[in-house]
Symmetry: C2
Subunit: 558 residues, 2 copies
């Protein structure tokens, strides 16, 4: 049973080491190339994806009372896929049965299953890439990374963090207490890892794998069984994931129902019933704060790990590489049409303009530079479509239209020509306006003039503190301003990127190095993946006895 | 500033090592003897205690709008002590000011202050012992241990756990991402520890130091400032503690207000206002579930770590040392008159009796053995008073009287002759009765007959699962029963002690080895001291920049 652990041990060790040093590391190549994934990987992935369409997705032995599925790709494709599903009651009952076995497994057996599943998922990254394209409306390159290797990185990170914590203290001890001249008291002690129970992973539409894997793998690694509740429009990537996990479990003679899929349809969502079930003890949630608040107030004594609404800002106070800055921001703003939890929304620039290597630039000139860089980036329709992807939710288009009248338009939103698309709108608003003070999810960028650079930092950081923010970016040449911003965003709990140019973007959060979300502002109460994210998913319970006077009890959960 | 850290480094290293191996370790001798604490320590402690009485307790520079204090010792002594105090608003404001400095300290400077304070508190253990005697009504030997070295152990444990977690990942990294044939992307990253804010430690009447130190030291170690709210009848031990911490802080040029005392009086308690203050971000609470529920529902977004009500059980199914078992249980039941969160309350014995090394014993004979052992233990009035201490809350006497009519009395409660006292009552009740199914705090023991040994285990474990339990004890000679009990109590989240005899008791929980409270049943949501207890008290926030392109920002919180 620990054969899988031994086989994948290097993977775990690499992750554990990287998570300590926070240096760059990944076992899963992010480039969708045959060089890494095999000559035929690209075609195989396409074929595998096509073969799935129009059928009932197979999940061997999964509870099935009916089939559901109404996924429509934002790219226009009707997936015509259905999935086996069942009532919350049935799923919970199946999860409870599986818990009796899965929870009692050795740590190494559990780790082996999860590491092996990640390795197999990695080999399927082209298929998962296509599934993610049509679930999220992302371009292929991004969907491959976010649904494939980057999500797998985050899954592995969670497994490694759990392993570190599960093995941090001895599971057996001889405790010998001196008694002066008398014989010492000698106890034997043994600790059992007791998982919480059933965990619910609530997936989102935009990053079904990337946002679900941390909670899913952390809960499984700590011995809980998991019900994966995908967004009704983004089922396939998680169905594939659940399928792989179930297959490895089955091969190991473990209950496949340790991981279940709660597929549903937009009109008949199963989330609320699963959240409210008293058997649900852990919930991982990514989505709006509105539903997040509902989850928190209806989840009883379940622990809720949430990533929610926020407003990410960029503060521009100066740069010694104006073109580099504009190009970098252009990509950050255009990428997936601002539909990332890490996408910048507000750009603060002093009303008097800023100094750059190209001379002084007025407020309008700064945004003209950024708008020009976006135009250039998206000049080629195919590239534009690949970068911007599509707009996954039609409501986003309404929000965009509404924002057009919020102020002076500095860049009009256009279309890529493929699917339901929208390129970044840039609209200048006053600091006293209100629209930019809440999340305006999608390709909407607010340009905000401030009296000074200090005020720009102050306003952006204060908004992060109040409304939440996952990322922040600063462009500055003045060390004093960099210090000020570092302090302000630190207190606001937003990770800050300074003077990024070239092929690295504020939107990007690298597993094993960047903690994604700090937990220190309203954008989320959990951080991927810190110790708090895994340590609360299980408990230790002891049995102790005078040494030699009792035969060691059978391991309490075995 | 790290001189204190270097001086006390061995203490920290010892704790870190012990917490991994869970073997016996303590730097603080538990025997109240001049051999360990110095020839004159005993007398010095008595003198120091007497010198405090009838005066206003000095806390240099502590916010003071008025003096409060109505502590009455359960032993009869009027302490006539008052303490400087102030409104919640004033205390919070002072705590916030201190936070600006304390939170920005280096980890090592913080650790140095806390380790030094623990060492100084240890030297004051005789004084703290006397203060604890009169706060709690415990006998001196117990008060010395529980208020002194054992509490200091728990404080050190929390400091070490925090240190391990704070230093678990690098605070700086060079992140170099390969870009194929192109130059790699190289970022510098830096993480700042961001504490949550103000922490509130709500002390209890019975173990003011032991139960307060873990939260107090964990919050301080992770950079939060703390307001200590003692029980109005048990202020002195925590006032001494706060005084020592403030003195070390002052000597180090750090704000003494990093630790504040919120002393109050029974009729005008300050707890509720402090719990409800939005500035309060962490709460450590020990007490009843009734007030615990109030705290949870009124604490906003503050994290609450709680130890609450529970029902601890003993299951007797057989023994090969009947006298040893009876003597061991007698001490566990008599110690501090059952006023420990770890004291057994229910004793389950099969109705058909059990096998022992003295032959078969009927249900009544088992309890006759225990009752006899209690009588023998308490035969000497002075020893009886030392072991039983006093009844700290008069309501406990009412509860005891009420329990007398619950069933057939197997041992009458008596008095020790000193103070408000009560020795253990043993009353036989039916499993269908109700009184034993909730916590009946104090010297009340319910004897419950079950159909079988298996049913005894089942009923006790089920009650632990439903109503909470911190400890459980089993006496058995049958390996199958031991296995069954180990499994049942593990699932119920109660630490189980098997076949204890001699000088080690189910009530005892040793720092660095036993996790006190599992967090896996209603008796508490936190475990002393696991990683979850410390990891949630702070967050990490990053700033990153292209290597070489930005001068390293001044540490974000400095």
């Amino acid at each position: 049973m620990t054969q899988l652990f031994d086989r994948n041990r290097a993977l775990l060790d690499g992750a554990l080491q990287a998570m300590k040093t926070r240096a760059f590391w990944t076992p899963f190549p992010e480039v969708p190339s045959g060089r890494f994934y095999g000559e035929t990987a690209r075609e195989d992935g396409e074929t595998a994806f096509s073969d799935l369409l129009g059928k009932s997705f197979e999940l061997n032995g999964h509870p099935c009372e009916y089939h559901v599925g109404k996924e429509q790709s934002p790219w226009g494709l009707d997936l015509a896929l259905t999935y086996p599903s069942a009532s919350a009651e049935t799923l919970i009952s199946a999860s409870q049965s599986a818990f009796q076995v899965w929870s009692k497994n050795s740590i190494h057996a559990r780790m082996g299953v999860l590491l092996e599943a990640l390795v197999r998922l990695n080999k399927m990254s082209f298929l998962i890439g296509h599934a993610t394209v049509h679930a999220t409306g992302q371009g292929f390159a991004m969907a491959f990374q976010a649904g494939g290797p980057h999500a797998q990185d985050r899954g592995l990170e969670a497994v490694a963090a759990a392993y570190a914590e599960l093995t941090a203290t001895a599971d057996r001890a001889i405790w010998e207490k001196p008694q002066g001249r008398r014989e010492p008291i000698v106890l034997e002690k043994e600790w059992t890892i007791v998982p919480r129970g059933i965990a619910l992973t609530i997936g989102c539409n935009t990053f079904p794998c990337w946002n679900a894997y941390p909670g899913l793998f952390a809960s499984l690694a700590t011995g809980n069984t998991v019900i994966v509740k995908p967004h009704p429009m983004a089922i396939l990537p998680l169905a594939i994931t659940v399928g792989v996990l179930r297959q490895v479990l089955e091969e190991e003679g473990l209950p496949a129902d340790s991981v279940l899929l709660a597929a549903d349809e937009p009109e008949a969502q199963a989330t609320q019933e699963l959240v409210q079930a008293p058997e649900t003890k852990l919930i991982d949630y990514t989505g709006s704060s509105i539903f997040g608040n509902w989850v928190r107030s209806h989840s009883g004594d379940a622990l809720v790990f949430a990533e929610e609404t926020g407003v990410n800002s960029v503060v521009i106070t100066g740069t010694d590489d104006f073109r580099g800055m504009c190009a970098n921001l252009a990509f950050s703003l255009a990428l997936y049409s601002g539909q990332m939890c890490t996408s910048p929304q507000n750009i603060y620039v002093p009303e008097g303009g800023v100094k750059t290597n190209e001379g002084a630039k007025s407020f309008d000139e700064v945004f003209a530079g950024i708008a020009g860089a976006i135009d250039q980036l998206l000049a080629d329709p195919k590239q534009a479509s690949g970068i911007c992807g599509t707009i996954v939710n039609p409501v986003t288009i309404d929000r965009l239209k509404n924002a057009c009248s919020a102020g002076r338009i500095l860049r009009k939103s256009g279309q890529t020509g493929v699917g339901r698309s929208a390129t970044p709108l840039i609209v200048a608003v006053g600091e006293d306006d209100s629209l930019h003070k809440d999340e305006c999810f999608g390709p909407v960028v607010f340009a905000i003039a401030t009296k000074s650079a200090e005020e720009a930092i102050d306003h952006a950081a204060n908004l992060a503190m109040k409304k939440g923010a996952i990322t922040a970016a600063l462009y500055a040449t003045d060390n004093g301003l960099i210090d000020t911003a570092a302090k302000a965003f630190c207190l606001a709990g937003a990770n800050l990127s300074v003077n990024l140019t070239g092929n690295i973007y504020v939107n990007q959060s690298a597993a094993f190095s960047d903690f994604h979300v700090t937990g220190a502002n309203p954008a989320g109460n959990a951080s991927l993946t810190d110790t708090a994210f895994v340590a609360q998913r299980f408990r230790r319970v002891m049995v102790r006895w005078p040494k030699g006077k009792v035969t060691r009890p059978a391991s309490a959960l075995s």
